[in-house]
Assembly symmetry: C2
Homo-oligomer: 192 residues x 2
Amino acid sequence: MNELKEKILQEGIVLSEKILKVDQFLNHQIDPSLMERIGEEFSERFKNDRITKILTIESSGIAPALMTGLKMKLPVVFARKKKSLTMVDHLYTEKVYSFTKKTVNEISVSKKFISSQDRVLVIDDFLANGEAAIACLRVLEKAQAEIVGIGIVIEKSFQPGGKRLREMGIRVESLVQIKSLKNGKIQFVENE
Amino acid sequence: MNELKEKILQEGIVLSEKILKVDQFLNHQIDPSLMERIGEEFSERFKNDRITKILTIESSGIAPALMTGLKMKLPVVFARKKKSLTMVDHLYTEKVYSFTKKTVNEISVSKKFISSQDRVLVIDDFLANGEAAIACLRVLEKAQAEIVGIGIVIEKSFQPGGKRLREMGIRVESLVQIKSLKNGKIQFVENE
């Protein structure tokens, strides 16, 4: 997605060989028009897959997932990292290990929002080690829902998440794939 | 906003005299079409106010704020409850006291996203005691930005937040106002 690549080149900041900061348009400040086009792109890629529901994780996944849901006319569920006061239902809960922070977090989804009838598209902002995506897959497995694919805004291809998921047979659609952040330079995978 | 009232009556669950659960369409599962119409409504109400930026708080404020930003063609900033690894900039940080949970949390906004040139619309899903909204106002005050108004999806008028804010001279636009949740029954303020 060329427009997204240009935005990353213009506004992304390489903080280290592993960390790209895109808080100018994706995960702190949001560019709604760009999110709309991201939603259109995911919608186009998964239009023939009879998807019934979109699943993401708060907070940075919400914007691209919501726009995809708007374009596909589908409900969006965001897994919560904290259980809220009103989450009195039965929940699917999974652990997510963060390699960068060396912490374990939990995500929870109310059982009533994912059923064995659902064909689910998972959307997230970043794919690095794949831990968050795999936690979503485990939720879907418990719910006996079908995972149709994963839509990722920015895949860091030099980290193992994309390979792990594809080797599990999961369809992963990344709007851009980053090959390297070495020497402060953003290099994309060219044959996307 | 009649459509929102109907949705609340159909899908809202009264958990107690103070707590209305709307996780079916607002803060766990999201109805993107309803969010779009909420965005249109806020856009219509603030269209003549020369707003330059929308501010909300993760996570439940993101969906209505994003749709308002889309309709108004404005960037959206969401205040973060946790400081992320990439938040290495100078931050505005404010405490938010939660009456229900009896805890103090912090919200942070990067200084680079709010300037003294900005005319800001704050959007949030709920208004109860007003603590979150007031934390946003303090961020805007520190940034010397102008607060144009606050757009709320659901105001619980039996709690003091709306009165507090209006007495401070803040324009508060709530799409629905709930008068009471007593006896498990949702009653709206009629003269909205």
